[in-house]
């Protein structure tokens, strides 16, 4: 195991991504997330989990850590038989419908929706989105289209 421990992780050198993990039924009983933390020094933040013993499981989570650890952790997941899909790109803003007010920034918990000043343009960074879906019903124009990656699910 070659996890990079002890290096100070600042927000700049940290890599974080929102992932959809699909567990085939033969591995749902294995402590895979535990190994990610223990062996690869990665932080995780669980958003959705649906794992039934003897059946398939799905986890939606944010994974965060040193970029090297992140890459190795991802390889471990794939080697273990977990199907990994990136959430980014699955969360969309309908640019035609969005009229750039900024109401969504009241509730967005991750800062994926933010206002560029002084222009007051409303920006959306899909990579930062945790798919909490708070913006979907709060957007007056209903411009936020947040869907799980159907291929993964």
């Amino acid at each position: 195991m070659a996890a990079t421990y002890g290096q100070r992780l600042t927000e700049e050198n940290m890599h974080a991504e929102m992932l959809i993990l699909r567990f085939p039924k033969k591995i749902v009983d294995q402590p895979i997330i535990y190994r990610l933390v223990k062996d690869y020094d990665l932080e995780f933040n669980l958003l959705k989990a649906n794992i039934t013993p003897q059946r398939e499981g799905i986890i939606v989570m944010e994974l965060k850590g040193h970029p090297k650890n992140f890459r190795q952790g991802l390889r471990y997941l794939k080697d273990a038989g977990v199907q990994v899909k990136r959430m980014a790109g699955e969360v969309r803003r309908n640019e035609e419908r969005c009229y750039q007010c900024g109401t969504c920034t009241a509730l967005c918990p991750t800062g994926a929706l933010w206002i560029k000043r002084p222009e007051m343009e409303v920006c959306f960074e899909a990579e930062k989105c945790s798919a909490c879906e708070l913006c979907v019903s709060i957007c007056p124009a209903r411009a936020m289209e947040v869907r799980l990656n159907r291929q993964a699910v």
């Binding site: 509730l107 343009e121 709060i138 007056p140």
Partner: protein
């Protein structure tokens, strides 16, 4: 009458528009010109300042005449895309209000309600050229025997479609916070508990009535940009309260003047009339509105040069009152503070949230500027200016 160094008339400015010599800038662009050259030189150089605003304006709606049917009907009840329209007018005239929810909307039964489709959305669909489904019921008379009509209808096929908004374009509005302990879903957007956010809904220095605080050039008959087309101010809006306290610069420190506006819906665009759903509150219509302000003299140049740090919104607690609704005024904050992203309230940093789109307000001011520069839009002198006293 004060003695001005610059004295221009509407006729002179319109003559310049006709000749393509008119100088037009937006309410943001005039700020630097007045700062650099002074108000007299600015009033000499610039003829028209364009303003703009784009935000939900609930007191909006449209008169729609769907044309006589055969056999004829006197509408008693009507629905457009299942949204009820008011039919208590002559035979085939309807009024569709922006906040009317769909007839089968679950409203706030599942709180907070989503209000996915309502009158504002119908108006937006109509100007987008979409076909809508009209159902009309009647009790039947000797002259109007028909009791039920169903038809597909487009804006083009209507005899008349007139946007008439009883109260738009507020001169200033509250900045809303919530000091209670639960999230509130209001017409000012979601308000997180314990002052989690402060929501405001004005374009600030670009907003029309901030640039003509005493309505010297805005009144009945003023031609304006409305919903992407040409409209008119037809009267003071409902709840027009020009007597609200004013700052040293003359600008009201609370919601004050309002405008009743009118225009032909058939000339408007879905980019500047957008149906919206305000979570837990209801449906509404985002209206794009821009007013040209002629720089008749240096007083108008000074008024148009007003900046966000000289404009103040009342900070109102929407959670403090047992009976609900807007309650205590906690103080005032400048639009410069609001646009900076945070304000300080009781020693706590509170993030600010705009509900009004400054990006689109600016787009409207620039579009109107272009219309005037290219001779497509002429100014009108009001028949009567808006009242300045209650």
């Amino acid at each position: 009458m004060p003695n001005y160094q610059v004295n221009k008339t509407y006729q002179e400015i319109n003559e310049k528009i006709k000749q393509g010599r008119v100088v037009v800038v937006t309410a943001e662009e005039i700020i630097d010109i007045v700062r650099r050259q002074g108000e007299v030189a600015a009033a000499r150089q610039v003829d028209v300042v364009t303003t703009g605003t784009f935000s939900p304006m609930c007191s909006s709606g449209a008169f729609l005449n769907f044309g006589h049917t055969s056999p004829p009907i006197k509408a008693a009840r009507a629905w457009i895309n299942n949204v009820p329209a008011y039919a208590g007018l002559a035979a085939v005239d309807l009024y569709l209000g922006a906040t009317e929810p769909s007839a089968d909307d679950p409203l706030n039964k599942v709180y907070p309600g989503e209000f996915k489709y309502g009158g504002g959305h119908v108006i937006s669909d109509l100007v987008a050229g979409k076909s809508v489904h009209l159902v009309v019921e009647a009790y039947g008379t000797d002259c109007y025997p028909n009791k039920r009509v169903e038809m597909k209808l487009t804006l083009n096929k209507m005899v008349n479609a007139v946007l008439l908004n009883p109260r738009n374009c507020y001169q200033n509005y509250n900045c809303a916070v919530n000091l209670s302990h639960r999230t509130l879903y209001t017409y000012m957007g979601p308000l997180r508990p314990r002052a989690g956010n402060a929501n405001y809904c004005t374009a600030g220095q670009l907003s029309p009535l901030f640039n003509d605080p005493y309505y010297r050039t805005i009144g009945i008959g003023t031609r304006i940009f409305l919903g992407g087309g040409v409209g008119y101010v037809c009267f003071p809006g409902t709840q027009h309260h020009p007597g609200r306290p004013r700052g040293e610069n003359g600008v009201p420190m609370a919601p004050a003047a309002t405008l009743m506006v009118i225009g032909d819906l058939k000339t408007m665009s879905p980019r500047y009339l957008v149906g919206v759903s305000l979570l837990g509150y209801g449906c509404s219509l985002c209206v794009g509105l821009g007013i040209p302000i002629p720089l008749l003299n240096e007083e108008m140049a000074r008024a148009c040069a007003v900046t966000d740090d000289e404009l103040f919104a009342p900070l109102v607690d929407y959670g403090g009152d047992e009976s609900g609704g807007a309650g205590r005024t906690l103080g005032h904050v400048s639009y410069a503070q609001l646009k900076s992203g945070t304000i300080i309230l009781g020693g706590q940093e509170v993030p600010t949230v705009p509900l009004s789109s400054l990006v689109r307000a600016r787009e409207i001011a620039h579009l109107l500027k272009n219309w005037i520069q290219t001779g497509q839009f002429f100014l009108t002198e009001p028949v009567q200016c808006l009242p300045t006293t209650e």
